[in-house]
């Protein structure tokens, strides 16, 4: 490969005079445009929308009732009647995958919502007040982060009892420390800014400062982290279900379908292939989107 070819394909250009736009584009608009240029991220976004549509329209799209067992159709391979085959109780796998999108998407989104809520509040308290409060919160967060995530989630899920809701709470609480740390770091960065000082000097309450000044400025990395966290939350739900702690039968979730399917990998591999593929596609989509958002919202890159 000639070096000149490589040179031209490198995006490293010598310093050029800045082209001045007459219309100043705001940072959000800029980010959105940048995201639009990232085709992979768009593909990810479309995939996510596809799954959301699938989940919402499940009652209308699904060919069969996901709970309808049929003793005569047990573990049948994919056919015209059952595109994805049937499972160990004769239920249509395609229908269960479609309905399972609800559980998996819910698991991802609700868990992260819980993490965000807990993480942002605690992180802001730690970052804003500093001192002893920060010290204690930081040490406790470190302690949480030092324990293997899955063990925390398992212990919490076992404590709460196996169910999808409890799995979401368990994952949400276990993942919160990451958001605490992120929020705190951002708050520490931002709190030295002038406008915060200004707000404080005119007597704004900490709450007011937090909501109207801190929050908008720390949102970008939180958005990125949340998207990536949804990806790992979906996998975490699948992992907990694999251990019997997530969504319980007969309601479908991709993770619990995989858990049941693991016993039938040889004689009914379709039971594992489709939910596994679904998890893979959804999680990959969130990861790619998150990656794209990170690039888009990164103030340093243009």
């Amino acid at each position: 490969m000639s070096s000149s070819k490589l040179m031209t394909s490198l995006n490293i250009r010598p310093a050029q005079p800045q082209v001045v736009h007459l219309k100043e584009v705001g940072p959000w608009r800029r980010a959105w445009r940048k995201l639009g240029r990232n085709r992979m991220a768009l593909a990810g976004l479309l995939t996510i929308i596809f799954f959301i549509v699938l989940a919402v329209c499940a009652p209308w799209i699904s060919p069969y009732d996901p709970l309808a067992a049929s003793w005569s159709a047990i573990r049948k391979p994919p056919s015209l009647e059952h595109w994805f085959g049937t499972d160990e109780l004769g239920r249509d796998v395609l229908s269960r995958v479609i309905w399972g999108a609800r559980a998996s998407l819910l698991a991802g989104i609700v868990s992260v919502a819980i993490s965000l809520l807990l993480g942002v509040i605690i992180g802001m308290i730690a970052g804003y007040f500093g001192g002893i409060v920060d010290g204690i919160i930081s040490r406790m967060t470190d302690a949480f982060l030092a324990c293997p995530f899955l063990i925390l989630a398992i212990a919490l899920a076992a404590f709460l009892g196996p169910s999808l809701t409890n799995a979401m709470i368990a994952i949400g609480v276990s993942a919160a420390p990451i958001f605490v740390r992120l929020t705190r770091a951002q708050v520490l960065n931002v709190k030295v800014e002038d406008y915060i000082e200004a707000g404080r000097s005119i007597g704004c309450s900490p709450m007011r400062i937090a909501i109207s000044h801190l929050l908008p400025n720390i949102t970008p990395p939180l958005i990125v982290q949340s998207t990536l966290a949804i990806a790992s939350a979906v996998i975490a739900e699948a992992s907990l279900s694999f251990l019997g702690l997530g969504q319980q039968p007969p309601e479908p979730s991709w993770g619990s379908m995989l858990n049941t399917a693991k016993n039938f990998m040889e004689d009914a591999s379709w039971m594992a292939v489709w939910p596994g593929l679904a998890i893979f596609m959804l999680v990959l989509a969130f990861n790619i989107l998150g990656d794209g958002l990170r690039d888009a919202l990164d103030p340093r890159s243009r």
Binding site: A69, W71, I74, R75, E88, L89, G90, A158, G161, P162, S163, L243, G244, L245, Q248, P249, P250, T260, K262, N263, F264, M265, E266, D267, A268
Partner: protein
């Protein structure tokens, strides 16, 4: 013979010998990692598989559940049935070279009864004292006749460890057990392997054809079978029921299908706690009868167990001598179930079925849910981790519970603790003095025909209340390399090493 050929032959022999001797290692795949390797304190089923190679017991059972000699060559009950005399085998030594004699046997029985942390004391409760008659004869004195005694002595409660080692090692005994079986302990790495080596002074050493046994716990049934197929294991226990068809078709594998001595059933809270009275299933015997009639046992076996089980409705399988013929398996009858519910004045009864997160229990619960719905039952499945479910059952914090029992050779082991008033495994709360009297009677008679009659009466009593709905008796599914022969198919599901060899 030409010298060249002789040399070639001897070279061949020399290279074959390692092959031959390495072929004398048996690699067994277990479904779980055993717990302590001390027969007095052991608590798991899987541990018993390992013990059958490590520790000999006074007596053993055969394929028909008859008592056969092992360390005891014969036994005789006294006329009043309150004591039993055992003649012990001569020339038996423990793995450390100590002699097995009456004193050693007495030490072991007392250890099983008295050691702190013993799990055997309940099994040997009726034994009040042990007398050494002569070096090869002991007498166990009981406070009352106790028919299940021999079955208990055919299991861990009859296992004999070296007294010298037990004293010397104290509570570290389980780490390096010294016992009396065909193999002695070499090493154990938790969750990785347990290695035994042939005990050269074993009294029955001619029947032992392996130099080493290596037990590997592989909890995932698919992976366990994959190991067997890949040639890394020679034998696996508890193969998945859905894998059985393909195992049978595989020319490189052989298999065994043995009906267990235990059962799988649904335990119902009829009086264990207040929760029983708040639930139609726990309150009314008619509702329970309707529930049982809504179930198609064969269907459950077919769907949930791929046909690898035998339907039953008692604590012993229908083929068992002590199965009560006066209480046959009811056929599914949804119409009658609905009629019974009407009679009981109950409409759309609903209850929660506590289901451990094991694959079998989950399948059973889902099939039961669908079947019972046809008779009008609304079954809510509450999946619970096994540890939690056990505690819930013990406290009576449940309505119905999918629970299995691994089974004991004597029917008493399958019913006494479960149906007797306030017994440790009685999660139903069932308590009837008539049944208690019958249960005690069944243990105190040594005549099988009499016991059969007593069990028939017990069955008749239990049918009135139906505290446990027995569904079926699972099949132990073993898969092994086709090189393996001499596999004894004993209903307790434990692999015996005597007679086992590579063909």
């Amino acid at each position: 013979m030409k010298p060249g050929i002789r040399k070639a032959l001897s070279v061949m022999l020399v290279t074959l010998i390692p092959v031959l001797s390495s072929a004398q290692v048996l690699r067994v795949g277990l479904a779980e990692d055993p717990d302590l390797l001390d027969p007095t304190q052991a608590r798991t089923f899987v541990g018993r598989i390992v013990f059958s190679a490590l520790c000999d017991k006074l007596v053993d059972i055969d394929e028909k559940l008859n008592i056969v000699p092992q360390l005891a060559t014969s036994y005789e009950w006294a006329a009043d049935s309150k004591s039993i005399t055992f003649k012990l085998r001569d020339g038996v030594t423990f793995h450390d070279g100590e002699k097995f004699d009456a004193a050693a046997a007495k030490y072991n029985i007392e250890r099983h009864k008295n050691l702190k942390g013993s799990n055997r004391s309940g099994e040997l409760k009726p034994i009040t004292s042990v007398d050494v008659i002569d070096p090869l004869t002991i007498r166990l004195n009981l406070n009352a006749p106790f028919a299940p005694l021999l079955a208990a002595l055919a299991d861990r409660a009859g296992m004999m460890v070296s007294p010298k080692a037990a004293e010397a090692l104290g509570d570290k005994f389980a780490a390096t057990p010294v016992c009396s079986g065909p193999f002695k302990f070499v090493e154990r790495i938790a969750q990785d392997r347990i290695v035994f080596e042939k005990f050269t002074n074993y009294w029955n050493k001619d029947a032992i054809h392996f130099n080493r046994v290596i037990y590997t716990p592989i909890p995932d049934a698919t992976v366990r079978l994959a190991n067997l197929r890949a040639g890394q294991l020679d034998f696996i226990e508890r193969a998945g029921s859905n894998d059985f068809a393909s195992i049978k078709k595989d020319p490189k594998l052989k298999s065994s299908k043995i009906t267990e001595i235990g059962y799988q059933g649904i335990t119902i809270n009829i009086d264990k706690s207040d929760r029983a009275k708040q639930n139609p299933l726990g309150k009314e015997a008619k509702v329970r009868e309707a529930f049982e009639l809504s179930l198609d046992r064969q269907g459950i076996v077919q769907v949930a167990m791929d046909g690898q089980a035998t339907v039953g409705n008692q604590w012993v399988p229908p083929s068992n001598t002590y199965y009560a013929k006066n209480a046959p398996i009811p056929k599914r009858d949804v119409a009658r179930a609905k009629a019974l519910l009407k009679e009981a004045g109950v409409t759309n009864p609903s209850f929660t079925l506590v289901t451990p997160t094991t694959s079998d229990a989950q399948k059973i619960a889902q099939v039961v849910q669908v079947m019972a719905k046809e008779a009008g039952f609304e079954v809510k499945i509450q999946s619970t981790e096994f540890a939690t479910s056990l505690n819930m059952a013990d406290k009576g914090d449940y309505e119905a519970y999918v629970l299995a029992w691994s089974g004991r050779a004597d029917p008493d082991g399958n019913i006494y603790s479960f149906a007797g008033c306030k017994q440790p495994l009685n999660y139903t709360g069932y308590c009837k003095s008539e049944t208690d009297a019958l249960l005690n009677e069944s243990r105190s008679s040594l005549v099988p025909a009499e016991r059969v009659k007593t069990f028939e009466k017990i069955a008749a009593e239990l049918v009135k209340e139906r505290p446990i709905i027995y569904l079926f008796h699972r099949d132990w599914l073993w898969a092994y390399t086709n090189k393996l022969g001499g596999v004894k198919e004993i209903p307790d599901g434990l692999l015996r090493m005597t007679g086992l060899k590579f063909n």
